[in-house]
């Protein structure tokens, strides 16, 4: 029961203590790293050190799936459970490891305790079926043992990066991380230097003129967001980079962070200068240990190189970046839930209004932008607004990253000007459907997205083009299903994803995701009740209309779109006869 406390955790905790509650998640991560789990004594110790009521410390531990209140195995494996990995045999991988470890537990004395869990999307969809071994990524195959998987994490899986343009990804996909020196050789931080010579207002004007809208899913105009935060009364102001990429099928922000981290830091610097912030946070999902390490090293490099810190380049502008790790909660990608998480609370979304630009992190004016959005900023200033707007369509200017996965010959990250047809992405860049099969469907925008069918193949991948087809572009996820796939499996997995990831705050989503899952279970087995159609519609539209946040409002989006395209799958067989 009693754990001896090594000095490392003690000293970490006492160094975090002055920050108070906001250091709760970092302290819990540190405790888990030191002990493998968080016991009641350690949780109490943390609560006392940070001044957080114990019941609330417990509430936070319970909210995040990567935090454990009981000892877990010495080797922890997460097997991705979402559509792209399922197509590649994730279920078999999971069963294989369970079978093998159960056998080992019986047969060998002193064998390490291996724990294997199914997990939400790990952001490794191009390496399906994906596994995290002790938080490090590996591509699995059904014939592998867990020992082989542990060995496989020594090399990180490499994402194929290509596209019609290579602006955001100019330095990506080369299987190395761009260091500061190399970044400088490729015009790195020049946009920031240029920005420092202009007024903040003129930077905001350029971003507005560029037509850039958020790349995280909600597509809000970035320039307007900055302007609103710049004009909002109150200080300090914050810039937050939302690197909590967890949309099933999304891995673009991971690649940007792993390959070209300084572009994101430069984007944050320019945003901070434009709105008058001196502190920034980069919140990265807990499953992204590797990108976290890369970003941490890059921030340290930037500090040492004089790009972060006090009076940068001899100007009056100071800026520092703190990196925060999430701990397993898709909801924390919702901007206000992310703030709550940084503040040391359960990741419950807040009511809006008020909006983050006036009442954001710690109640202060805040700009929160997605990783890819921020990576666009140096590009806009370097190219100039006019050249930037020549990319894409008039209403959707700029380049966009698409995460292509599923049944295509060449899954990967593709950069294209907005407006290219879906067919181009799948057939030309992705080299078509695997094994010469036919295209059946694509899930666009991730779990919160909608399905495209063969009749959508010529729809332009732009915000307006997709909207006209009733499909959200979302974060740029395209998961492809060939004609041999039973789509009901994907529907069921999407329903399960939302039931697992609902925070539980508002009734429509808390109960609706569960009810939706129960009905989808019947649909999966081909046994929907005659009245399930109406039930799904009522549950789906109630979540869409009445939930507090974007998670609940989109939790039925893909399934409602599937009901439109394939109504027969949702009706009992006898009605078909």
């Amino acid at each position: 029961m009693s754990q001896s406390t090594p000095p490392s955790f003690e000293s970490t905790l006492s160094s975090l203590a002055p920050q108070g509650r906001t250091a709760l998640l970092p302290a819990l991560h540190a405790a888990q790293e030191a002990y493998g789990y968080i016991s009641d004594q350690v949780a109490a110790q943390i609560g006392r050190a940070l001044g957080v009521p114990l019941a609330e410390v417990f509430g936070v531990i319970e909210f995040y799936t990567l935090l454990h209140r009981q000892p877990v195995g010495e080797v922890f494996l997460h097997v991705c459970n979402d559509p792209a990995c399922a197509l590649a045999g994730a279920d078999t991988v999971f069963k294989q490891i369970v079978f093998q470890t159960a056998e080992a537990a019986v047969g060998e004395a002193g064998a390490p305790a291996v724990r294997v869990e199914k997990s939400a999307c790990l952001g490794l969809c191009d390496h399906a079926p994906a596994v995290l071994v002790q938080s490090l990524p590996a591509k699995a195959s059904p014939a592998q043992t867990w020992q082989e998987l542990v060995a496989a994490t020594a090399t990180r899986p490499l994402t194929y990066v290509d596209g019609d343009v290579r602006l955001l990804t100019a330095l990506c996909g080369r299987h190395t991380t761009v260091r500061l020196e190399e970044y400088r050789q490729h015009q790195g931080y020049q946009a920031f230097e240029q920005a420092l010579k202009q007024s903040p207002a003129s930077i905001i004007e350029s971003v507005k003129q560029s037509g850039l809208v958020g790349r995280g899913g909600a597509a809000f105009p970035t320039g307007l967001k900055w302007e609103s935060a710049a004009q909002a009364p109150g200080s300090p102001k914050y810039v937050v980079c939302n690197a909590d990429e967890a949309e099933p099928g999304a891995f673009k922000d991971r690649v940007l962070m792993e390959d070209n981290p300084h572009a994101i830091i430069e984007g944050m610097l320019i945003a901070a200068y434009a709105i008058g912030a001196s502190k920034g946070y980069l919140y990265i999902r807990g499953e992204y240990l590797l990108p976290y390490r890369v970003m941490k090293a890059a921030v340290e490099e930037a500090q040492a190189g004089g790009w972060l810190g006090e009076r940068i380049l001899g100007s009056d502008f100071s800026f520092e970046i703190e990196i925060r790790r999430g701990a397993g909660a898709y909801i924390c990608g919702e901007e206000t839930a992310l703030f709550e998480s940084i503040e040391g609370k359960r990741g419950f979304p807040r009511l809006k209004p008020p909006y983050p630009t006036t009442h954001g992190l710690f109640g202060k004016p805040t700009v929160i932008n997605n990783v890819e959005t921020l990576a666009n900023i140096p590009l806009i200033l370097r190219l100039g607004v006019e050249a930037y707007r020549r990319l894409g369509t008039p209403q959707s200017p700029g380049p966009k990253l698409f995460c292509l996965s599923g049944d295509v010959n060449r899954p990967g990250l593709y950069e294209v000007p907005l407006g290219v047809p879906l067919r181009h992405l799948i057939e030309d860049l992705g080299q078509g459907i695997r094994h010469g099969n036919k295209f059946q469907a694509a899930l666009i925008g991730g779990a919160a997205g909608a399905f495209a069918t063969p009749q959508h193949l010529d729809v332009p991948l732009s915000f307006e083009g997709l909207r006209a087809a009733g499909i959200p572009l979302g974060a740029g996820v395209v998961t492809v299903f060939d004609s041999h796939r039973d789509l009901r499996d994907a529907f069921y997995r999407l329903a399960r994803f939302f039931a697992e990831e609902s925070c539980g705050k508002c009734y429509p989503c808390q109960m609706g995701t569960q009810r939706q899952l129960e009905i989808m279970e019947r649909v999966l087995h081909g046994k929907p009740l005659p009245s399930d159609w109406e039930r799904l519609q009522d549950v789906g539209w109630t979540m869409t209309d009445a939930s507090i946040c974007g998670l609940g409002q989109t939790a039925a989006s893909a399934i409602l779109s599937a009901m439109q395209h394939w109504p027969d799958l949702f009706r009992p067989p006898r009605e078909l006869q």
Binding site: E62, G504, Y507, I548
Partner: protein
């Protein structure tokens, strides 16, 4: 001072109220009753039950009347089809989740909205064993609708005791003490305010509970504190 009044229509009726008024209160002034579950006059409103949603012209999604404040020229409908569907479905889902046998206000709402209490066949009820760990009150979370009021009055809304918070998340959320310790080992001061704000009988004074499971009042009054706490009762064992 008419310029200090906000003009709006609710269900087609024009009205004016002072700025900062919530839609809920503005409607009440017109005698329009908007149903609520989580809302309580003396607790911070979190707009989480969403039963009070109304349709505001021009808004993408429905708006919670308990927290949304009136705006000039707002057009509110408290009875539109979208509103009715959301309220009815939320109630129907609630019946498939929670034991509402001691929630008369929700019962009345169910009647008013023509709720089918068995709308979701095969649904997994959120069933948890009754917690009887102290002499003052019992916690029967099978009846808990997660309105958060008890957590709030235990914290900043009243008592600053912080004995309870949440366990789990999503559908599996439950009110809990630190590491689920029995209430006497928590920071609870047994002020009873959580019981006062509980709308569904999930929190109940021990005496009421004992009466309900078959004890006579005289028996209860003669019990010692330890007799009243913790142990399972004869009546419960035989039940």
């Amino acid at each position: 001072m008419t310029q200090d009044r906000i003009h709006l229509t609710i269900d087609g009726i024009s009205t004016q109220v002072s700025p900062g008024t919530t839609i809920l209160k503005a409607a009440l002034q017109l005698g329009i009753d908007i149903p609520t579950i989580c809302y309580h006059d003396y607790c911070t409103a979190n707009a989480l039950c969403r039963i009070c949603v109304v349709e505001v012209k021009g808004a993408r999604v429905l708006v919670p009347a308990c927290t949304a404040t009136v705006q000039e020229n707002m057009e509110v409908s408290t009875t539109s089809e979208r509103v009715q569907r959301a309220r009815r479905t939320i109630l129907e889902m609630l019946y498939a989740t929670v034991d509402l046998s001691e929630a008369p206000e929700i019962e009345a709402m169910a009647e008013a909205y023509g709720v089918n209490r068995d709308r979701f066949p095969g649904a997994e009820l959120r069933h948890v064993p009754l917690i009887d760990d102290n002499p003052m009150y019992i916690r029967d979370y099978t009846k808990c609708v997660l309105c958060w009021r008890c957590v709030q009055v235990c914290a900043e809304d009243a008592q600053y005791t912080y004995a309870i918070n949440f366990k789990g998340r999503g559908y599996e959320t439950q009110i809990s003490t630190f590491y689920e310790v029995p209430m006497p080992e928590s920071t609870c001061v047994f002020c009873g305010q959580c019981i006062g704000v509980c709308p569904t009988g999930a929190l109940k004074f021990k005496r009421q509970h004992l009466l309900e499971v078959g004890y006579a009042l005289e028996d209860i009054l003669q019990m010692t504190r330890s007799e009243r706490s913790g142990r399972r009762r004869r009546a419960e064992r035989s039940a």
